[in-house]
Amino acid sequence: MAKVRVEVRNHPLARCVGSESPTPFGLPFFRPSDAARVIARLPWYRLLVKVVVLPADADPLTRPVEIPETHSPPAILDTGAPLTCFPATLWRQFAAEIRWLDQPPREDGEPWRMTILGGSWTYRLGRVRLGATDINGRWLDAATTVAMFLDEPPAGASRPPRHAILGLRTPLLDRRRVRHAGTTPDDLPVWWLEDDIP
């Protein structure tokens, strides 16, 4: 069963509140029953998968011996995102490996846009061959994924995502499972992305 360890990264939100705790991470609050009003913290996490972009014409069983950092961005494992998405700062580094797809023009001639709550960005659709690795060099075989490649927004426009987003519709998740396997001794959750073996 092939698997990769998913990097769990604390989210820095609310780290700015004084020095009342040695832990810089987590949303501070008071427990309802705590008369001493000791500040408790609610840590936030993100799941990051180190995806690896391979040449489009690579043999399906290719296992790289070296992974250029330009071609292996950590991507947020995001079941809330229908499609995989790369901001321009990332995809420009592996642009040669993207096979672009045309989208039917919109009736109003405007470019296609992706919208998330307050933000909206133009994009192009393309295909890219993605595998996944982890800090121990484990490997999940690559598969071709359709993704949205965001354009660099004009000055003053809302800021696009900084990280790549590994969305729901990627063959990297097909017949696989995202598994929470307890916590490390320093209380970080352990997550795996792995083949689903019944």
Binding site: M1, R9, P12, T89, Q93, H163
Partner: protein, 98 residues
Amino acid sequence: MTTNGTHPPPPATDAAHGDVFLELNDEGKAALADFAWVGEQYHRGAWAAHAGEYIAVVRRQVVGVGGDPAGLRERAARECGVPPGRVVVSYIDSPNDL
């Protein structure tokens, strides 16, 4: 992951469970080790001052900080005498990024 930033070899039981490991060359291993080090230091809060920026790391040294990841990578590669793909450039989440 040990506290000094090194990584023990994967336990044999992992292979026994069918894990697939890459056979990376030395450069590949070094880049992965730097990537892991960035994550470890992140959890210690070492990059708090750079929230909202990118950091460039080579051989467990921060060799650049800035808002332009491509420029940062090129500069770091030139100054360190390594290929651009050897430089770990990592975005440090800020409290304003969900």
